[in-house]
């Protein structure tokens, strides 16, 4: 099986420990060479929008938290799909959250651009699985 690295990953999460851990596991799994981090939905939206406007290529994968200050993961998704040239069909979005609330899980189904849901803590096996599914 041919395992390809992810070109670039964007982590949107307000928890520094989660960001540290995810970066570290990504390193171990040789997941990607480029990691972009935003600490809340608004910062991520502003940053990605600016990139799109400059004509830069957006990250090919987004790890998105739900519960964040200023702008939640849901609001980010609502706003993100409105960005012109967002190239969203080529961006794989994973929701990464601690929530086991069935209302959150149900809500994910409503977002077509969301690829899947991963319950925290994220493990190296999760990353391997992602690489496998992307490779296929």
């Amino acid at each position: 099986m041919n395992i390809t690295k992810i070109r670039s990953v964007c982590i949107i999460d307000d928890d520094p420990i989660f960001i540290y851990g995810t970066k570290r596991i990504m390193n171990e799994a040789d997941f990607t060479d480029e990691i972009l981090v935003y600490n809340d939905g608004q910062a991520a939206f502003d940053g990605l929008k600016a990139m799109a406007e400059r004509g830069e290529e957006l990250p090919s994968m987004i790890f998105l938290d739900i519960n964040m200050p200023i702008m939640t993961g849901w609001e980010f998704l609502d706003e993100f799909i409105k960005i012109p040239n967002n190239n969203s069909e080529n961006i794989i979005i994973y929701i990464i959250s601690s929530s086991v609330d069935p209302r959150d899980i149900a809500r994910i189904q409503q977002y077509k651009i969301v690829n899947n849901y991963i319950l925290k803590p994220i493990s190296i096996e999760d990353l391997h699985n992602i690489l496998k599914s992307v490779g296929n």
Partner: protein, 466 residues
């Protein structure tokens, strides 16, 4: 004049005497008359014979078989040229049926009257124009009027305007002969203005020719039942709300504890594998941060549980002005640091009914928020005012700070761990606790806010018990 009487066949039949009975005299007739009517009847016959008064009377006879019958008797005297009475012509009619019917009618009238007066159901005889002709005590009690007052009124005057048309159109169907009665749940007004819920049954009363005479209205007062139903549905609402909030709380607990536990397990996993000393130190610092956060979260959750439990604490009448100035003194350093102005427009004797510790915590939280999220471009101004409304005392905390985008955040503003500014001390716990505390005191909190103009929090408190 002889005592002998000449009877026709009908008389024999009436008195149930064999037709061949001979020598029927006045005495015979009088013997048949009921002992209680005998003397009066005899006197009346004598009066007729003496020309005092024509005989026209009613009496009872006792037939040989013991049966009592009611008789109407009419008699006239025949006189000769000298003016002497020579004959007495009399007719007897059997009016037993009529009498029985009259007695039954009287009985039925009496029983109607008794039922009408003593009924627990409000009853009225309503004239065709809608005015009350007769009302019973129960109706007077339900509507709060004296009988005299109601008798001068029309049913429209005591009917809730929203229900009048229904009632009138059903009544019209009766007058048009389309129906003879109807039943309707409708509202009345008590004399003092409050609403009475009733079930009204209207029946038409007609005379023998079918002409409408009046209506009989029966009103069952179901106000207590409706009140109970409302109380019950309010209880169901409260229970549902509490259930929702408990479920929400369970999810909050689960989410918040999970986020820490997942960090802890991740960090310990790294620590086990990590060989590099400086990285191990780094991991330990993070591990300590994660345990501290877990501790904080548990403290916060405890605080929330305390609010819910604390609702059992006694509410007291508290002077609002004193409470605000006390909190303000505690915040003096922060107020001076921010150069803030605090205007308190509260009557110094205004009291509200609160759990004192909650009130302090709420005031502290709102004032701190206004100071923390003040605009760097303006001198912070906090205005606190109060208003006495019909069923609450409202207190407004108005600031000219950063404001919050309510379009986006209104449903999250009072949520747990929701923050809206990139402020390091923002924990998203204050307003969540404040809202819970207000609700525990049967009050509520509302907010109006414009980004970069300011926020106004409006608190609804219970009035003090007197």
């Amino acid at each position: 004049m002889s005592e002998l009487l000449v009877w026709d066949d009908i008389m024999y039949e009436l008195f149930k005497i064999p037709k061949d009975t001979k020598n029927i005299t006045y005495e015979t007739w009088l013997n048949y008359v009921h002992p209680e009517d005998k003397e009066r009847s005899h006197q009346e016959v004598q009066n007729a014979l003496n020309g005092i008064k024509n005989f026209d009377s009613q009496f009872r006879i006792v037939c040989p078989n013991g049966e009592i019958r009611h008789i109407k008797g009419v008699g006239i005297t025949q006189k000769n040229a000298e003016g002497e009475v020579v004959k007495f012509l009399g007719t007897n009619y059997d009016i037993t049926e009529l009498k029985n019917t009259q007695m039954m009618l009287q009985k039925s009238e009496e029983s109607f009257h008794g039922a009408f007066e003593n009924s627990d159901t409000g009853m009225a005889i309503v004239a065709l124009d809608g005015s009350f002709e007769k009302v019973n005590e129960s109706l007077c009690a339900s509507l709060g009027y004296a009988e005299k007052e109601l008798l001068t009124m029309n049913f429209k005057e005591v009917t809730h305007p929203e229900d009048f048309n229904d009632d009138r159109s059903l009544l019209k169907q009766i007058t048009k002969g389309k129906r003879s009665s109807y039943k309707l749940e409708k509202r009345y007004f008590h004399k003092d203005g409050h609403v009475i819920h009733g079930i009204l049954t209207v029946t038409a009363v007609k005379d023998t020719s079918g002409e409408l005479l009046h209506f009989v209205s029966q009103v069952t007062d179901i106000t207590p039942r409706i009140k109970n139903e409302k109380k019950l549905s309010r209880l169901v609402d409260i229970t549902t709300e509490q259930n929702d909030s408990l479920l929400n709380f369970a999810h909050i607990v689960s989410h918040n504890l999970r986020s820490h536990s997942s960090n802890l397990s991740m960090l310990t996993n790294f620590l086990i594998k990590e060989k590099d000393d400086s990285e191990r130190k780094n991991l330990l610092v993070m591990l300590r941060g994660a345990t501290d956060s877990l501790n904080d979260t548990i403290l916060h959750l405890n605080e929330v549980v305390q609010v819910k439990v604390g609702a059992f604490e006694k509410m007291k009448n508290i002077n609002l002005y004193d409470s605000i100035t006390d909190v303000q003194k505690n915040l003096n350093i922060l107020i001076q640091e921010k150069n803030a102005i605090c205007e308190i427009n509260i009557p110094k004797d205004l009291k509200i009914r609160v759990i004192p510790a909650y009130l302090d915590s709420i005031i502290l939280n709102l004032l701190t928020n206004s100071l923390k999220y003040s605009s760097p471009e303006r001198i912070p101004l906090i205005q606190i005012s109060s208003k006495i409304e019909s069923n609450a005392i409202t207190v407004s905390f108005k600031d000219n700070g950063l404001g919050i985008d309510l379009k986006r955040n209104s449903d999250k503003l009072f949520g747990m761990y929701k923050t809206f500014h990139r402020n390091k001390d923002a924990k998203g716990i204050g307003l969540f606790i404040t809202k819970n505390q207000m609700e525990a005191m049967n009050g509520k909190i509302e907010v109006e806010s414009t980004v970069d103009v300011g926020s106004t929090f409006k608190l609804y408190f219970e009035k003090p018990l007197t």
